[in-house]
Symmetry: C2
């Protein structure tokens, strides 16, 4: 019922199919209180283009009149809303009041009967201070209830909520158990008390632990987290659905939501907002209205801001700068900054979902940027995959605090004047061999001209680690004019060919160690763009094996390139294995759908070039991945590989 449309980080634009239409995620579901609709569902649709709302089945169930009406004509008629409706079960009420008076099976059945598009189990809300034994026991009960609920859900999509208190290990266990059940969506429950205490770091750890255990093909709903302040971070970590009751609750208290926090009416002099409410009114009028018990305008503001925040996040996903957006947003509160800093402990996991390149440049926002998965990937691949060329003169630059692009170009020209040298420069990403300087994200980055000691230290550490590998045996560290004089003494006559080296080094970095040897052999011709002078095509032994993309300096595979990689790398390297049913389609150049994928190299990443093989490892096509391994194994919908070319059987 869920498919991927676009992605950044663990964040994704998804399409949720419901009985009442498709809903794009990330999505905010306004909470409709059937007893008190301050903004009606129709208005939600009219003003905020809401396609989905959430209401509480327990409240309907406990009110004789509402219950009767809902059972007779369904929840959509009750709310007078023909979009998708999710229902909650009373779990949150059990947290607030200590207990609820309803049978866990009955409330699921009730949700089905009233025609909820998505019903929720009655999970046990573990409290933040509960000890591990108590939480474990609750969790067991939640899983049992979830399991029973799957038997009676009928055609209603079922939401099975992850619990596990403040114990990431239990969250992981719970997620794994729930993943094995036949259900459609996983809320993460029990985080409201942490959110209310600004304990964002703990929420982040809970989200990541849950995501690790859940199937990436199922949407995740972060229950009760509708404050615009936290949405960006939650989406970056893979949450897809949010609900907000705050828009109304806060409005009643005279509190206005903003993407940088909450403000009480009496704290506001100038409305810091451009929404239709704030553009029209001044704060005195809103205060007056609130005093008279009319807080609808404030509730409207709260929704305008929250819906706009969702749009801002979606736009950031499309632009490929969700990391930047979140890093900036997390400066709104020191506890958000703490949460952001905690992400560095999860970068190995996060890297698996990070695309190979993005359409927007890498913006440095602070030392936290150096812990993004894309930076971790460069560092790892550089030390694992990069092959140092054997040339006579190697020069290492190590002037930590000046950004590469502006500074080195001049110095490098000076040295190239006296000899053919191979350069390694010290960038914020780590050591960058000069031939990798067009590869994403090296060239596609904007770095401030003054850097924090934390980043400078990291740069020095990586440069040192590199030179300690013994790769600098022949090298001189650049040290101003003295080095230059020494090099002048050595004179010209090296054999360093930067174009050839670029092709080889990028191939190794992109496809893995040894790729260059496999792909580029015999007589090699490099076709360059006449306009930019950049490498376009790589012809080896008369065959077109690779094309280099100007946008990110990475390769697109060509037929012969795919064949060579297939011969040169043994399974499962660089491969996606598809079912027999799919083979003929892919041979004909049609895309690989996730449901036909049997396996995939776990080193491949979204947007990577990959080989498509059948289960006998026969090469049938090649193309570009839309998903990583765990995603294509989990999803039943959507494209796993966009095929560039298929191979005819006969060949």
């Amino acid at each position: 019922m869920f498919e991927l449309k676009a992605r950044d980080g663990l964040g994704r634009i998804g399409l949720l199919h419901t009985k009442h239409g498709d809903v794009e995620t990330p999505v905010l579901l306004p909470v409709i209180n059937p007893n008190q609709m301050i903004i009606s569902p129709q208005e939600m649709k009219e003003y905020f283009k809401a396609k989905m709302v959430i209401t509480n089945a327990y409240i309907i169930y406990k009110n004789e009149e509402l219950k009767k009406k809902a059972l007779e004509s369904g929840v959509h008629d009750l709310l007078n809303f023909q979009g998708a409706i999710m229902t909650d079960s009373g779990t949150f009420q059990s947290h607030v009041y200590g207990d609820v008076d309803v049978d866990p099976q009955e409330i699921v059945e009730f949700q089905r009967k009233i025609g909820s598009d998505m019903g929720t189990i009655l999970d046990i809300f573990s409290e933040v201070d509960d000890d591990i034994e108590k939480v474990q026991e609750d969790m067991k009960k939640t899983i049992q209830r979830a399991s029973k609920a799957t038997e009676i859900k009928g055609d209603m999509a079922l939401a099975c909520t992850v619990q596990g208190g403040n114990f990431p290990k239990l969250r992981l266990d719970c997620s794994k158990e729930l993943s094995s059940l036949d259900c459609e969506i996983h809320p993460i429950g029990g985080v409201v008390p942490l959110m209310e205490d600004y304990r964002y770091k703990e929420v982040v750890n809970i989200i990541i632990a849950s995501k690790r255990g859940l199937l990436p093909s199922r949407p995740v709903h972060l229950f009760g987290a509708g404050h615009p302040m936290f949405l960006g971070l939650a989406v970056l970590l893979g949450c897809d659905l949010f609900d907000s009751a705050s828009y109304a609750k806060f409005a009643k208290d005279g509190r206005m939501l903003f993407s940088d926090g909450t403000r009480k009416l009496e704290e506001i002099v100038e409305l810091p907002c451009s929404c239709p409410i704030c553009s029209k009114h001044c704060v005195d009028i809103l205060t007056e209205m609130h005093k008279n018990g009319d807080y609808k305008a404030i509730a409207m503001h709260n929704l305008y801001v929250t819906f706009a925040e969702i749009n801002r996040i979606k736009q950031a996903i499309y632009e490929g700068n969700l990391w930047e957006y979140v890093e900036k947003g997390c400066r709104a509160h020191p506890n958000l900054l703490s949460a952001l800093k905690a992400l560095r402990h999860h970068k190995k996991y996060l890297e698996r979902f990070e695309t190979i390149s993005k359409s927007s440049a890498f913006f440095y926002t602070g030392p936290e940027s150096m812990h993004r998965p894309i930076v971790y990937r460069y560092e790892k691949r550089f030390f694992d995959r990069y092959q140092h060329p054997k040339t006579r003169v190697q020069v290492g630059f190590d002037e930590g605090n000046r950004p590469y692009s502006r500074f080195y170009k001049k110095e490098i020209d000076k040295i190239l004047d006296v000899c053919d040298a191979h350069f390694i420069v010290n960038s914020v990403f780590g050591p960058v061999p000069i031939e990798l300087d067009e590869m994403y994200p090296i060239a596609q980055s904007i770095i401030p001209d003054e850097l924090e000691p934390e980043t400078l230290d990291r740069m020095r550490r990586l440069m040192e680690r590199h030179s300690h590998r013994g790769l600098f045996e022949l090298a001189v560290m650049y040290d101003g004019d003295e080095t230059l004089q020494f090099l002048t003494g050595m004179g010209k006559g090296g054999t360093f060919d930067i174009d050839m080296q670029r092709v080889k080094s990028v191939a190794d970095m992109q496809f893995g160690s040894g790729a260059a040897d496999v792909l580029i052999k015999g007589e090699v011709e490099l076709v360059k763009s006449k306009r930019t002078g950049k490498i376009r095509n790589v012809i080896s032994e008369g065959k077109h094996v690779l094309s280099m993309r100007a946008s990110d300096g990475l390769f697109t595979l060509k037929e012969e390139g795919a064949r060579r990689l297939h011969r040169g790398f043994s399974a499962p390297g660089l491969r996606v294995v598809v079912e027999e049913d799919s083979v003929q389609f892919n041979r004909e150049g049609k895309n690989v759908f996730a449901k036909f994928v049997l396996d995939c190299d776990k080193e491949l990443r979204p947007m990577d070039e990959a080989l498509v093989v059948d289960k006998n490892d026969e090469l049938i096509a090649f193309g570009r991945l839309m998903m990583n391994r765990e995603e294509m194994l989990a999803f039943n919908r959507g494209i796993a590989v966009k095929i560039r070319e298929g191979f005819d059987k006969k060949e």
Copy 2:
């Protein structure tokens, strides 16, 4: 014509008096092109509550029809706008087209004749790459023209533009010269090429150099800088007026302004904005309209966003968190981050304008926060003013990476169990003696629980500097259980009285070295709040000398306190000297207006407690400063000191 209403950093809410009404600053003046009003001035008023616009007198002057109409019925009728109108002179056109065909005197006279509320001289726009000789020559000419313009300005307010190219020293010189002229406002000119190239650091250096030379009583207009991205930083540095032609120019090109940058229509999938335009339309409709030549909606969006940004900044000034707001906003682009980092070189200047305390807490947003003027002030005062108490046991805490509040409380209790000790703890602000822990900003701060090496290094450096002063002769550095055992050996029986020490140390930190000895003597009684246990009043020798504010842990002066400080500190210490005309009013408890101030202690800061004396140094009143020295000497309007109590002559 300008007065202060509220302040934060060098940012200020001001009131600009014009012939067509009062205008609150910071303010955005939409540029009205008299040839092409895509949004009319009346609409500016209706939709954006604009009270002031700017138009180009040169364009009117060069168009016979417009010129005639303007001379006949005035510029207000020409634009059909009865609010305040500023006019520009053609300088920008000379930058764009190389030259303009108008006499510098004539264009000023023309502006006066058409009834401009604020006319601008025809200054010489120095280009960014001009050499220093050329710029100096241009600057001389600009100053000459300004000087001549003052003679013919009549009742029109005159804007004398600061030039000086990309040379901060020349900007300072030019500002000083212009300050001596009879004019009302100072634009800073010639920064557009830098803004267009994202060279924000250089713009910041130009603004600060200009501000140093200008009178703080005159509003500053940053010419051509209307992008919402840069407004916060510019206001923080003391810019008051902005103009925007971009709203229309960008709209025509299909570009939308946002507070984090500019986006082309074709780059947008989801409109990341809550303004009335974006809430109503989707991007496809805006694109369609733009294709058909209708870009008014986009221009409206651009203005909604920019006006909202001004409101956001004003609200931040009222809240006292403009620094936080700007630090966050500067993560929108690495070059803004560079500009932010450059502020650390100006903190000595910035500190002079920083209030003593604020109503909102200090939020840590990154290592840059440690270069705010308030942090510099704490550090400076601690090392200059703080007197170490003479007690038997002194304990220094130095566990850098844990925030004070959460960690130390428990440890301190352990030690207090075994002896009466005096504590110095290592906070992000530097060493904090335990008795200063309720003083702003120490207690009123929220710090993430993980800190960058840059901040940790700073903390260590300051703690070391402190211990090297020899103040730790008797001290033990806390080192877990071992220290505790050692202290147990020493036993109880110290004489450290934290309440008394708090009163003394805060007095010294707030009023200067020696203040405690002057204020607190003989028998001392401390009256505490029954509810919070915090010190409320300080009674010395039976007289109420000080009250401690619960909000910021600082003192409010009482009559006897003022008398003692006056006797104990010689002039000009802690004093504001007023003219004879003001004396009787102030004795009666009426506020001191800036225009009556003869001099002021240059160590006093806005919101400081101060003594008011006549020119014979007789104490006539005491109160709270609204301005620092240079402001009260410059302003002709507004309150310099809010008097708490005046002293009757007879006493």
